[in-house]
């Protein structure tokens, strides 16, 4: 390992501090933690600082938080994200709330962990557009960071791996549960949901009506509202029945994955519009209408989409239900220094 600054395999940096327990709020399971990156107070704080730091972008204009803004449910409120210099991205920025539960990251699942994920936007030309080498040198050139990295990982240079691990540990604290739905379903609070939302929940789980839970799963003890898998809803198909963005197919080259995208969580969905991987549906009403119409036809349309059948009342109730999935926001998640 000779001077592998900014290189994926740059060793086995391990946090040195005491392991911090991350508590799951009502309605969520324990957050999975990789063996080589137990969260510590130091790495979490470091990750938080990095998350809000524009130094990670080429022209010092963008931080992670520019596209994952805590005031917008950790999204950017745009259909497609804007990178440095106003470069338009090709996909909608997903929420980072509860992303820690996702076995694969990105709409197409191309990153297998939060650690692996975070290196991507930094160097992505249509996002932060800065080589990892430059990022590492900008961060390590800052004496405060240098000291914080040493506290978090022990002595040694700042590396991309340490940046990734810190960002990932911070992201593992971005948990949001205890929504009206959670208090109703898991907290025994029968008045936590409105009557319309209770009807909406029944539609949501009924395989003959909404069939939503076939993909946006609800477990008896917790609910992630995603199966972590990839499905074709027809969103983004063109007049020739083809997808400009092939989604999961780009990773697997499996025919059945053509136009398939990761099921997004629906927690906090009222805060995270516009919707879908291309941000083309503006409101929750639009999304529910999209499903009521049976999605958009194409050869690989998921069979679970075909099972959906919704009356006008069902649609209104579903929208009401989706609005009750807004949870409590995690503490200490905003810009550092502003508790």
């Amino acid at each position: 390992m000779v001077f592998c600054v900014g290189c994926k395999t740059s060793g086995n940096a391990r946090p040195v501090g005491a392991v911090e327990e991350i508590k799951a709020p009502l309605g969520l399971p324990l957050v999975p933690i990789p063996a080589d990156n137990p969260p510590t107070a130091q790495t979490i704080a470091l990750g938080r600082k990095l998350f809000y730091d524009t130094r990670l972008s080429k022209d010092n204009t963008l931080a992670c938080a520019s596209c994952h803004n805590p005031n917008l449910g950790f999204t950017d409120g745009r259909s497609l994200s804007l990178g440095v210099g106003g470069m338009s991205g090709v996909r909608n920025a997903p929420t980072l709330l509860n992303a820690a539960y996702s076995p694969l990251q990105f709409w197409d699942g191309r990153a297998s962990s939060l650690e692996e994920q975070s290196a991507d936007p930094i160097a992505n030309p249509i996002e932060m557009n800065q080589t990892h080498k430059v990022s590492v040198s900008k961060i390590s050139g800052n004496p405060a960071y240098k000291a914080e990295f040493a506290q978090a990982f022990g002595p040694g240079p700042v590396t991309l791996e340490k940046i990734e691990k810190s960002l990932a540990s911070f992201e593992r604290t971005l948990l949001s549960g205890n929504s009206p739905f959670d208090r109703y379903e898991y907290g025994g609070e029968k008045t936590a949901l409105t009557p319309g939302a209770i009807r909406g929940l029944a539609v949501f789980v009924d395989p003959k009506r909404g069939n939503c839970a076939a993909c946006h799963t609800i477990h008896p003890a917790y609910a992630l509202f995603t199966d972590g898998r990839f499905h074709n809803t027809g969103e983004g198909v063109n007049g020739e029945g083809e997808f400009n963005d092939l989604g999961r197919f780009g990773q697997t080259k499996l025919e059945a994955d053509r136009g398939a995208f990761k099921t997004p969580t629906l927690r906090n969905v009222a805060l995270t519009g516009p919707y879908m991987h291309d941000g083309s549906l503006k409101t929750l009403k639009d999304v529910v209408a999209f499903y009521a119409g049976g999605g958009d036809s194409n050869p690989d349309l998921d069979k679970e989409i075909k099972a959906i059948s919704l009356s006008g009342q069902d649609r209104a109730d579903l929208v009401e239900f989706l609005q009750e999935l807004t949870g409590e926001m995690p503490k200490n998640a905003g810009p550092p220094g502003k508790e």
């Binding site: 053509r258 639009d286 119409g293 049976g294 050869p299």
Partner: protein, 258 residues
């Protein structure tokens, strides 16, 4: 014998893959790859015309109110009451929205595909127009003028069946049909009362009867034709007409109600 295993392999792959993608590549193009066909042009001194009136004999059906209450925005967009339009007869018994077309007599002639699209609008939570004709390969422009999402679904049997959702303010969709098919029923997957019917022909000789029941099919080459009429509730009828150069023929039809 080399080409055969290869061909079979391709076939097998296509089948295994559930034909994904493949179905579509043939969609708009069929004519494109072939050398430009020789289009038939009707000589200026020869164009004939067939006109006529479609009538309905029998008790006029009672007005049937459409219940759009499940979509309040539709009720509003409609400004008042919406009535069923599956059988529109005026005071004099004239039948509107009948599709009239040349059913046979044009064999061997290839006609140019019009460059202008035919538009179907989702407006007031109806399809406008309700009955329409289009040529094979001509662009169908799908517009949504409503403040709600619609999902247009042409239930084609000969052409590819498809459905596509269109939100308020979304840009128009452009679609084509690749084969003649009379008629393709169209529904909105979201609003069960929305229906339309599209007749697809590979020549421009079709019309839809107006509120006064009349129709006109112009610019026909001289010849003998089967003229057919289709109405969504009443079925089909047909008769033969012969027109000479610059000729005029009449084809009137009467449907009997129950």
């Amino acid at each position: 014998m080399r080409p055969f295993p290869l061909f079979n392999l391709c076939l097998a792959i296509t089948l295994l893959a559930g034909c994904s993608g493949k179905v579509n590549t043939e969609q708009p193009g069929a004519a494109k790859s072939a050398p430009a066909p020789l289009y038939f042009k009707v000589g200026p001194g020869t164009a004939a015309v067939v006109t006529g009136t479609i009538r309905y004999q029998g008790k006029k059906p009672a007005l049937k109110l459409i219940d759009m209450s499940e979509e309040p925005a539709c009720v509003e967009a409609h400004h008042g009451k919406a009535y069923d339009e599956s059988l529109v007869v005026n005071k004099k018994g004239a039948l509107a929205n009948a599709f009239v077309y040349v059913k046979s007599g044009l064999q061997g002639k290839t006609f140019e595909i019009p460059a202008t699209p035919v538009t179907i609008d989702q407006s007031g939570c109806w399809f406008r127009p309700r009955v329409m004709g289009i040529q094979v390969g001509q662009v169908l422009k799908v517009v949504n003028s409503d403040p709600v999402t619609h999902n247009i679904h042409p239930m084609a049997q000969i052409n590819r069946e498809w459905n596509h959702s269109q939100g308020a303010g979304d840009p128009p969709l452009a679609r084509k049909f690749t084969k003649p098919e009379v008629m393709i029923p169209v529904k909105c997957n979201i609003h069960s009362w929305m229906h339309a019917f599209i007749g697809v022909l590979d020549y421009p000789y079709f019309a839809v009867s107006g509120d006064d029941g009349t129709f006109e099919i112009k610019n026909l080459p001289p010849g003998t034709y089967a003229i057919a009429v289709w109405q969504e509730k009443l079925g089909t009828q047909e008769q033969q007409v012969t027109v000479g150069p610059l000729g005029k023929a009449e084809a009137n039809f009467t449907f009997k109600g129950k």
